[in-house]
């Protein structure tokens, strides 16, 4: 298991000068047909990079908070996977697109990353859970790096 502590120090130092990680992260996610195959370490690491980036470009918590709440509500509907429904997952995409349309500069990068993630989350409840973890992670790291409301 990688030592995340090291990773973080490194990350923080580079934040200002770093190029947008969005393209790179997007590629990483696209490698997975099914999100359930993605290791937890990678989810956390992507959340970390994206969370930091979103903070740097000035995204506010409230802007992603609503989306997160929505997806959590869906999770309760799925009732621990017993009533999983792939259409409900796909419907997340237009919701996100709508939000991005209104906040082009800040939400769009998030959308770009989540788009392939949603695609890879519709096959099973397990994959959907990984998607949830990714979004929760992004929100958490965003806040961790000082992102405000």
């Amino acid at each position: 298991m990688p030592e995340y502590r090291q990773h973080h120090r490194h990350q923080q130092g580079q934040q200002q000068t770093q190029q947008s990680p969005v393209a790179e992260m997007k590629e990483k996610i696209k490698r997975y047909q099914q999100l359930k195959a993605m290791p937890a370490e990678e989810i956390v690491s992507i959340a970390d990079r994206i969370g930091a980036h979103l903070k740097n470009i000035g995204l506010k918590t409230t802007q992603i908070r609503k989306f997160l709440d929505g997806i959590r509500k869906i999770d309760t509907q799925f009732n621990r996977g017993k009533s999983f429904n792939k259409d409900t997952v796909i419907l997340l995409k237009p919701k996100l697109a709508y939000a991005a349309g209104r906040q082009e500069r800040t939400v769009k990068p998030l959308m770009e990353v989540l788009d392939p993630a949603i695609d890879a989350a519709k096959d099973s409840y397990e994959s959907f859970k990984k998607l949830l973890a990714l979004i929760e992670g992004i929100v958490a790291y965003h806040k961790y790096y000082g992102g405000g409301d």
Binding site: M1, Y4, R5, A40, V44, G51, A140, K143, Y144
Partner: protein, 796 residues
């Protein structure tokens, strides 16, 4: 018997010249024996001991009178047998005498019990015994004749203080030798064959241990030869008999004693008055072992030099192997077990057995000790076999017990006495009542005035404890009338020569510390943070292996094995008091409670041999556990000798036996997880190094909190209490979710406010996927939350 005393005392002081010689500007003017003889004569402290002091000049092969009297032969041979380690070194020629060589710790001989090719680093003791907790040094200390001068001065002062008690009793001399000569090497020869060899052969037996064992052997030889050769003894020189016994002759006995059923006896008590009863019962057992040992010593007509070990419910005595000795042992054994059976209805039993051995057993002691422990184990399995009928007999209920029974031991066959507690009266049988009273007395004992225990032939006024035909009574100081009447006077942890005026004054080191204000368990309850009591049990890891295998075979001499076990006992009985009190030492004070002023709120219920049982306020107990571990490390200086423990934390009303059981389970977990660890809470076993990290982490958390008189509280808006609850939940989730908890941890930390460097530190230790770090965080958080709980019964 006149001769016997002279022989033993002579053997005890035979090497005193070594001490004198090393303080001289011109040491090589005389042989050490002559230096000693002249000093003893000049000082006039030993005027009445004309025969004894001849031992100084009659114990070496080149001394004139060695081979012309049976005394000389005994002194010469007992000196040899007590120092087999020296004999081996004299065989090789490349040695060098260095008068100022320091004593190595006897523990450095212990190899890694799990890998016998691994040797410990050599560690040394300061030549002058320190006042506080002893610790070894890995740098060879510089010793000069001034150091020896100062030791002599100390010894002389004490002899002066006791000048009125001449001729000095062997017991007094034993105490003084222990006080002054425990760190003085008995030999000062270094072996110069390469560094490795030199280290392995470094002197590690103290002059005290050597002198005491010489006296023990001399006393045994006296009885053996007098009884075996009654006609020759007074008229002939027994030169061949003493110096060249046939190899199958077994003149010696190792007697061992072991109390079984201790656990049940001590801990099966109700919570009412638990602390006093516990303390009383546990001390009763110490008195009992002490009693039995003194009965044996007396029946065998030996001295306390022959007590090789006494502690932890075990004892070993070096004796002689004759018909009368075996009869004497059997008689004592029978008498004491009859008494115990009647008094306690078989709830515990004292097993005594012995192994005869030849002089070879003094060279390699392991088979002797192992043989004895096998015999004792076998005895334990045959509990009360010869009294089965009595055990099964239905006891008549005493009429006091028609509606109730003893509140402590549940016996129904004895009259009950009312015991007034603070807000309650409970009914106890007489033995339990007396033990409770003993506990009460012990609790009153504070450090400043040394308690005295008188052993009396008649029942004294006030509370006393009856063992066999004798009554033991604790007093806070000297009592003129009791002193006159007493058969023996015990001085607890008291090294003041002035207090040894009774011919039979006996020094006993005892783990007895208890916080002054701690009278009931509930006094330790509401002290700091959450209201909880804790029990700590600890013992040395791999002890059996250490004795059986870890000391290299050629080094397993009787004197070394005795030195090692004595050293352990000394730590647990004597030094432990200072360590757990925490006032004089560099003790742990996790939240900064100013512990040095107050002392730790706990009580040593029992400590000795290689283990201990402590009860008290949970934080004090927790901190003390680590203090004990750290000081044990400094004391042995050998990282292969480790110690493990278990802590149980619970409410004040939780039954003591359950506490004892839980702590034992925790300890077993610590041991099964590879030892050198502490078991704490329900399913955690922590290596000590991790435990230290836990303490560090609590300190880090503490930076965000405010230290109040009796708890930690929130400091402004830096970290809310919920932070710690959530962190604890995360730490527990980490066991399953692993790295997935990191974003949540990140989120949690993002709300922390405080000094940037503190926040950075928190981030560093929590934003990690390292399992161990999370374990540390979990326990540290739990403890922090316990510290944040405000005291008060309503919050319990």
């Amino acid at each position: 018997m006149e001769n016997f005393n002279s022989i033993v005392k002579g053997a005890l002081i035979h090497d005193i010249g070594k001490l004198i010689q090393r303080a001289q500007p011109n040491p090589s003017d005389k042989k050490h024996g002559q230096w000693g003889y002249d000093w003893l004569q000049e000082s006039k402290f030993f005027e009445e001991d004309a025969l004894s002091i001849r031992a100084t000049i009659t114990h070496h092969k080149d001394d004139e009178d060695v081979f012309t009297s049976n005394y000389g032969l005994i002194w010469y041979e007992s000196d040899n047998l007590a120092s087999f380690e020296r004999k081996q070194e004299e065989d090789n020629e490349k040695g060098r005498w260095d008068m100022f060589t320091p004593l190595a710790s006897p523990f450095f001989k212990v190899r890694n019990p799990n890998n016998l090719t691994e040797y410990a680093e050599i560690s040394y003791l300061p030549v002058k015994k320190s006042e506080g907790v002893e610790s070894v040094s890995f740098n060879k200390p510089d010793i000069t004749s001034k150091d020896y001068e100062s030791i002599i001065k100390g010894l002389k002062n004490d002899l002066e203080l006791a000048r009125g008690y001449r001729p000095y009793s062997i017991n007094l001399l034993l105490m003084l030798f222990e006080k002054h000569l425990s760190n003085v090497p008995s030999i000062t020869r270094e072996v110069m064959r390469g560094r490795e060899e030199q280290l392995q052969k470094h002197p590690d037996i103290s002059l005290f241990n050597h002198s005491k064992l010489t006296a023990a052997i001399a006393g045994s030889m006296y009885h053996f030869y007098r009884e075996t050769y009654p006609d020759k003894w007074n008229n002939e020189l027994l030169k061949d008999e003493i110096l060249k016994p046939s190899p199958d002759q077994k003149p010696y006995l190792l007697i061992g004693g072991d109390i079984s059923g201790v656990q049940r006896f001590i801990y099966t008590i109700s919570s009412k008055g638990a602390l006093r009863s516990l303390k009383g019962r546990s001390f009763y057992l110490e008195l009992l072992s002490e009693h039995v040992v003194s009965e044996l010593i007396e029946a065998l007509q030996l001295t306390r030099c022959n007590i090789i070990f006494l502690g932890g419910g075990h004892f070993y005595i070096l004796s002689y192997n004759t018909k009368s000795a075996l009869e004497a042992i059997d008689k004592v054994r029978k008498k004491i077990n009859d008494f115990l059976f009647d008094e306690f209805k078989g709830s515990f039993q004292l097993h005594i057995d012995y192994v005869p051995f030849s002089k070879e057993g003094l060279k390699n002691a392991v088979p002797v000790w192992q043989g004895l422990s096998r015999k004792l184990e076998a005895l334990k399995k045959k509990k009360w076999e010869d009294r089965l009928f009595d055990v099964l007999k239905v006891e008549c209920q005493h009429r006091d017990c028609d509606t109730t029974y003893c509140a402590v031991c549940f016996r129904e066959d004895l009259p009950l006495k009312d015991l007034k507690m603070v807000d309650d009266i409970i009914k106890l049988c007489e033995p339990c009542y007396n033990q409770y009273a003993l506990g009460t007395e012990l609790i009153k004992v504070s450090k400043s005035n040394h308690p005295v225990i008188y052993k009396l032939p008649d029942k004294p006024e006030g509370d006393s404890i009856k063992i066999g035909d004798w009554y033991y009574q604790i007093k806070y100081g000297w009592d003129k009338d009791l002193h006159k009447e007493a058969k023996a006077v015990y001085r607890i942890n008291d090294l003041n020569a002035k207090h040894y005026s009774h011919d039979n004054t006996i020094y006993i080191p005892t783990g007895i510390y208890q916080h002054e204000d701690l009278k009931e368990l509930s006094d330790a309850f509401n002290v700091y943070g959450m209201n909880r009591i804790a029990v700590l049990r600890m013992d040395v890891d791999n002890l059996g292996k250490i004795f059986a295998e870890a000391v290299p075979e050629e080094d397993r001499t009787f004197s070394r094995m005795a030195s090692i076990s004595k050293g352990l006992n000394q730590f647990f009985k004597y030094h432990l008091n200072d360590i757990v009190e925490g006032k004089d030492i560099d003790s742990y004070d996790i939240v900064g409670r100013d512990m040095k002023q107050t002392g730790r709120r706990l009580s040593v219920v029992y400590s000795g041999g290689d283990d201990l049982f402590i009860i008290g306020h949970w934080l004090d107990v927790l901190e003390a556990s680590y203090d004990i571990k750290r000081y044990f490390e400094k004391y042995t200086g050998n990282s292969f000798i480790t110690i493990s423990g278990g802590i149980a934390i619970n409410h004040e009303n939780y039954p003591v036996y359950q506490f004892a059981r839980d702590a034992q389970e925790s300890e077993e977990r610590a041991k099964s997880g590879g030892k050198n660890a502490i078991g704490i809470f329900t399913d955690e076993s922590l290596k000590w190094v991790i435990f230290e990290k836990v303490i560090e982490r609590i300190r880090l958390f503490k930076n965000f909190l405010k230290v109040e008189k009796d708890h930690l509280s929130i400091k402004g808006n830096s970290l809310p209490k919920t932070f710690f609850y959530r962190l604890l939940a995360l730490a527990r989730r980490f066991r399953n979710d692993k790295v997935l908890v990191l974003p949540k941890a990140a989120y949690l930390i993002s709300r922390a406010k405080g000094k940037p460097e503190d926040i950075l530190k928190i981030k560093e230790v929590i934003m990690t996927s390292n399992e161990q770090e999370w374990k540390v965080t979990e326990i540290a958080t739990l403890i922090t939350l316990m510290l944040m709980r405000k005291g008060g019964r309503e919050n319990a």
